[in-house]
């Protein structure tokens, strides 16, 4: 099962964190820092797998990650998952984000955290993979957007709000 999905940038700023096991908020933040520390010190062109940090369960868990431009996508998984399969899953996730946001970049993740969560929710649920077919995922996201659009104009309030 997937224990956690973390996205952070090259400086370790978290851009998305999703834990499928319960940790205290404090521990979650520590896990993010620990994971960043482990992943960021690795060279490019080394392998995409490493043993998980102590906080998330040590060597029983693996961190499987990809580094895209300014962002690290890290999946922390237990031994029941195929390493290469998860790498593919990360790729599907990123390709899906790219389609949804049209050339996704870090800023999209910052300003649309809720959308990113939604897209992820169409792929992974409770730590297990729900769907791997990108077109299917996008169809779901699209239909949600349509519903949102149909509601948006009702709420779009013209006043300046903060």
């Amino acid at each position: 099962m997937i224990k956690a999905i973390l996205i952070f940038n090259n400086h370790g700023k978290p851009r998305l964190s999703k834990f499928y096991e319960h940790y205290s908020e404090d521990t979650e933040q520590q896990i993010i820092r620990e994971t960043f520390h482990l992943v960021s010190k690795r060279d490019e062109n080394v392998c995409n797998f490493l043993e998980g940090g102590i906080l998330i369960g040590g060597s029983d868990n693996k961190l499987i990650y990809r580094h895209y431009a300014t962002l690290y996508f890290v999946f922390c998984v237990d031994s029941s998952e195929s390493e290469l399969g998860i790498l593919d899953l990360i790729q599907v996730f990123v390709e899906t984000l790219d389609k949804c946001f049209e050339n996704v970049c870090e800023l999209d993740l910052i300003f649309h955290v809720d959308k990113v969560h939604n897209i992820l929710g169409e792929m992974v649920m409770g730590g297990m993979v729900l769907e791997t077919n990108m077109n299917e995922i996008i169809t779901q996201v699209d239909s949600q957007n349509k519903m949102e659009k149909s509601e948006t104009f009702i709420f779009q309030s013209p006043r300046q709000d903060r």
Binding site: D43, V46, D88, K99
Partner: protein, 985 residues
């Protein structure tokens, strides 16, 4: 069109995020956040009712703040309100908030559950999915109670939309994981299994995770999934890359699903149905073939997906461990990957090979890659990969390559990454011990280890080398010489000083004849290190000095001088001071005889599980234990297959108990609290001398004089050691239940006979219980693992087991066990270790009584524990002439036992050979003039004596008869082995 259009978001949120991003310092950011939190709080608390949009905006801001790592302790109520909205956008944000900030506030859970209930019954697929997601994310017990009944219905209902089915499957899985007791599959089982046939691949993808988990827990109920999974897999594997449309990923059809199907199959043994099995083997072959085809795309994603399936297929082949052909192909494939340019593939190949190495079919094939693996250890840039290479070397190590592998690992240690050094050290120490043929090599290896990576050599490692040197007198002289030489180095590690101090203190006399290592030279060498060492090491050295006084009376005055000097006798450390005072006194007033008794050589340590192995397991966690067990399996395989007799001091145990190092390592109790035992005795005497000097210091009473009474019984040492041996308090049999143990089952004798020539297997099985056995023997010691498996889904209570020795067996065999947990959950397995020591030869087998309650009824079973005298055989190789010479020597009538009997299963030379090897003897070729005959030789090792045994088995193929003749120096042994073996053919 992009699915998410930028710019239609909430302006206030965007502004807030920009503000945060523009903050120049952490302080500014916190300030801005606190301001916002105050703002939101006041908005939420304010009188004015907020509209949905504002609530959504504020909740989004809270989410963002939470992501930055700040605690959010309010807003939950507003989020719950959003759930009840019938606007999708609001509902969705509400659910998101709840999912991200899980809160077990029960008040709130009830409200959330209410909203979920409404959405589940709304028949709006989007709302249903949101609700299911929320349940899966929170997954609390309250939620399980509320929805565990409802979700299976949604999952299998004919009119449920595919996307909802997918969510329902994973939601159910989550609830099952949190509260298995609440999710009752019963009536749904078959329909859930048939989801594997669903037309929608997404549904299959989600359902397979559920089915895999359920199968692991209830394999029998779900076993129909095997044939369905095979046919699904076969359809995917044989489909063209375009058949599956969107589920084709970079020209590979449904890679994720294929992997998951292969994983599911790994929950089961190979299919029994020939057709299903044939189809599966075909699939596996196709997958292996495809790996050799030219890639359909140059993209890394293509090869990734293809190889993901390949690795899972290989994992399944290894799991089955029954198709030698496939195993060898798998091994060759992995061999290719070992040199692949993709680091990921090299990593995975090393990892898979580790498991392959434990299969008896492929162990040899794996070994052919040794050079590549060693090269990987030396040249890989990536520490993760190097670590896997080290793991694989460890796994592929056996007697034939141990020296090479240990040497490579040692040389790698000099440059190894700090993060893996300690583990490497442990592994080297274990391999060196396990495969030590000559113990001088072992001593060299460990001393090298200390020299190269002294800082990483844990206490366990140097304790162990001392234990082994003490227990093997053939290596003591060599050890003394080597350690003396090692100490010559100008800078040597403190661990080296400890080993040196201990060994020279015990065995310095063995090298004292050489003027270059005369007693005084030895002493001066040790003492030159003294001032650089820590307090515990100095304490150890002081004890070594007093031992020197005993070994070499000529050093007495020099050493007394040292003890007497202020830096010792007035040392500010109370332990050192006390030792100096007491040793000085002891050496000056005790007679030579008394000294010799008090400072006697240490008695051998009781053999027990290598503490190093326990340490490795502790370090690596449960994962490593399984490696060790597999390791054990392989060893066991060798034993059964007739390889070398297990000379494995480091027996693998999986229930490694690791009490404090001193207790475990040395087998010594803390110093007996007699007389004026110093207060610090517990902490400082954790050195290897704890028993010796403590006994000595116990002799010093408050006045500082030795009382005669104490000295009359000084050999506390050996007494205490024996007391720790078999039969001490913690090995008492479990408290007897009120019911008398049942008499042995009628078939107990037959079951016993099944194990005469093998060490592992299933001892007993009925509808409730399965008892498996793994055992290892070495010389007169053995260790047996009993695995009690509950085959039912109901727990066994009041489970207890008792091992007993009937008749005169207690004087012949020493057995030690620990009690097992009184509860075995349905489907679970517990294990028990029995340590066995053979005191003298024996005939009867120990009894094992098992009692438990199943559904209220008491089950009471007594079996014979398959411990037979032949387990303590050491094979002996000899040539023809020698054999017959000895044969003649054992010519007295009572030394021989003979039986003529009819063959039970026909005469098959290979089977006979395997059995004779399994018996534990060496099968001697070219000894008997008649090549049809089998002759064997071995020595039975008991504590008291060794009994040489010669065996001759003459088959008569025509008459289907055998004549078996045994000759040994002891009549009872000849007879017993003759009886045992004649039942085997």
């Amino acid at each position: 069109m992009p699915a998410v259009s930028k710019g239609d978001g909430m302006r206030g949120l965007a502004v807030f995020i920009s503000d945060i991003r523009n903050c120049k310092s952490k302080e500014a950011e916190i300030k801005r956040i606190n301001k916002e939190l105050a703002n939101i709080r006041s908005k939420f608390k304010g009188d004015k009712a907020l509209d949905g949009y504002s609530k959504k905006k504020y909740v989004c801001k809270l989410l963002f703040i939470f992501l930055l790592g700040h605690d959010i302790d309010f807003g939950h109520m507003e989020a719950v309100n959003l759930l009840s909205s019938n606007k999708y956008t609001e509902k969705q944000i509400g659910y998101l908030f709840i999912s991200v900030l899980v809160n077990s506030n029960s008040e709130l859970i009830r409200l959330i559950n209410n909203a979920i209930k409404n959405d589940l019954s709304s028949r709006n697929p989007t709302f249903m999915c949101l609700a299911l997601h929320c349940i899966a994310n929170v997954g609390s017990r309250e939620m399980a109670e509320a929805f565990a009944g409802e979700i299976p219905r949604i999952l299998v209902a004919g009119d449920t939309m595919d996307s909802v089915k997918q969510s329902a499957a994973l939601c159910l899985l989550r609830l099952y994981k949190t509260c298995p007791d609440l999710v009752l599959m019963g009536e749904w089982t078959s329909r859930v299994v048939h989801l594997l046939n669903d037309q929608h691949m997404g549904v299959v993808t989600a359902a397979i995770s559920l089915i895999t988990c359920l199968s692991q827990k209830n394999p029998d109920e779900f076993k129909t999934c095997v044939s369905l999974a095979v046919s699904r897999l076969s359809r995917i594997v044989s489909s063209a890359s375009t058949d599956l449309q969107d589920y084709t990923y970079y020209f590979v059809p449904a890679p994720w699903l294929s992997c998951k199907l292969l994983r599911l199959l790994q929950c089961y043994p190979p299919p029994e149905d020939g057709a299903v099995k044939g189809r599966l083997v075909e699939c596996l072959e196709t997958i292996l073939n495809k790996a050799q085809e030219p890639p359909k795309s140059k993209k890394v994603q293509h090869s990734n997906a293809k190889n993901a399936i390949l690795f899972e297929a290989i994992a399944l082949i290894i799991h089955y461990d029954s198709e030698p052909n496939l195993l060898v192909r798998a091994c060759n494939q992995l061999g290719q990957f070992l040199q692949h340019r993709e680091t990921n593939l090299r990593y995975l190949a090393l990892e898979s090979m580790c498991t392959l190495a434990s299969s008896e079919f492929s162990h040899e094939a794996v070994k052919t890659h040794i050079e590549t693996v060693i090269n990987a250890l030396k040249t890989e840039r990536d520490v993760s990969v190097r670590q896997r290479a080290a793991d694989l070397l460890y796994a592929m190590c056996d007697r034939s390559n141990a020296k090479q592998i240990v040497a490579e690992m040692l040389s790698y240690l000099e440059t190894a990454d700090y993060s893996i050094r300690e583990e490497m050290v442990l592994k080297v120490a274990i391999l060196a011990e396990k495969y030590a043929v000559d113990y001088s090599w072992y001593v060299d290896t460990i001393l090298n280890l200390i020299r190269i990576a002294g800082d990483y050599v844990s206490e366990e490692v140097w304790y162990r080398v001392i234990q082994i040197v003490i227990n093997r007198d053939d290596v003591q002289g060599y050890a003394a010489k080597t350690v003396f030489e090692a100490l010559q180095a100008p800078a040597c590690h403190e661990n080296m000083v400890k080993v040196g101090g201990y060994i020279l203190g015990e065995f310095g006399n063995l090298i004292a004849g050489d003027p270059r290592s005369s007693p005084l030279v030895q002493f001066n060498l040790l003492h030159s290190k003294f001032h650089l060492c820590s307090v515990p090491t100095r304490a150890l050295l002081l004890s070594a000095y007093i031992k020197f006084i005993n070994l070499f009376p000529e050093t007495k005055s020099t050493i007394q001088e040292v003890l007497r000097c202020d830096s010792q006798i007035r040392n500010s450390d109370v332990e050192l001071q006390q030792r100096a005072v007491e040793y000085l006194k002891l050496s000056s007033i005790a007679s030579t005889d008394v000294l010799a008794t008090v400072l006697e050589e240490m008695p051998p340590f009781p053999e027990r599980e290598s503490s190093i192995l326990a340490k490795l397991k502790k370090k690596k966690g449960p994962g490593a234990v399984s490696v060790e067990l597999e390791d054990g399996k392989r060893e066991g395989g060798e034993l059964n297959g007739g390889g070398e007799r297990g000379d494995t001091p480091a027996m693998s145990a999986s229930n490694a108990s690791t009490p404090s190092p001193s207790a475990d390592l040395l087998g010594l109790r803390p110093a007996p609290a007699v007389g004026s035992a110093p207060p610090s005795v517990g902490s400082l005497l954790v050195d290897v001398f704890s028993e010796g000097p403590a006994a000595a210091s116990a002799g010093v009473n408050d006045d500082g004089f030795l009382s005669g009474r104490d000295l009359e019984q000084p050999p506390e040492t050996s007494d205490a050691l024996l007391a720790e041996g078999p039969g001490d308090s913690d090995s008492a049999p479990p408290p007897a239940a009120s019911e008398e143990p049942a008499p042995p089952l009628p078939e107990a004798e037959d079951l016993l006979n099944k194990f005469v020539c093998k060490n592992n297997g299933v001892l007993f099985e009925n509808q409730l219980l399965q008892i498996g056995i793994k055992s290892e023997y070495r010389q007169n010691l053995g260790r047996m693992y009993l695995f009690y498996g509950n085959k039912t889904s109901v727990q066994f209570v009041s489970f207890s087991t008792a091992v007993s020795c009937p008749g005169e067996l207690p004087t012949q065999l020493n057995l030690q066990t620990k009690t097992v947990e009184p509860l075995i959950e349905g489907g679970a397995q517990v294990q028990q270790v029995v340590n066995i020591e053979c005191l003298t030869d024996f005939i009867d087998a120990p009894l094992l009584n098992i009692k438990f309650r199943y559904g209220g009824a008491l089950q009471n079973i007594t079996l014979k524990l398959p411990v037979t005298i032949n387990k303590f055989f050491q094979p002996t190789e000899m040539v023809s002439q020698e054999f017959f010479q000895r044969w003649k020597q054992l010519s007295q009538p009572q030394q021989e036992a003979q039986k003529i009997f009819k063959s039970g299963h026909g005469i098959d030379t290979e089977v006979v050979k395997a059995k004779l090897l399994g018996l534990g003897t060496a099968l001697l070729e070219n000894v008997d003039p008649n090549p049809e005959n089998f002759v064997c030789a071995g020595v039975i090792q008991t504590k008291g004596q060794q009994v040489g045994c010669l065996l001759r088995l003459e088959p008569n193929a025509q008459a289907q008869m055998y004549r078996l003749t045994l000759r040994s120096s002891k009549d009872t042994v000849s007879k017993r082995i003759c009886d045992l073996l004649s039942e085997q053919f």
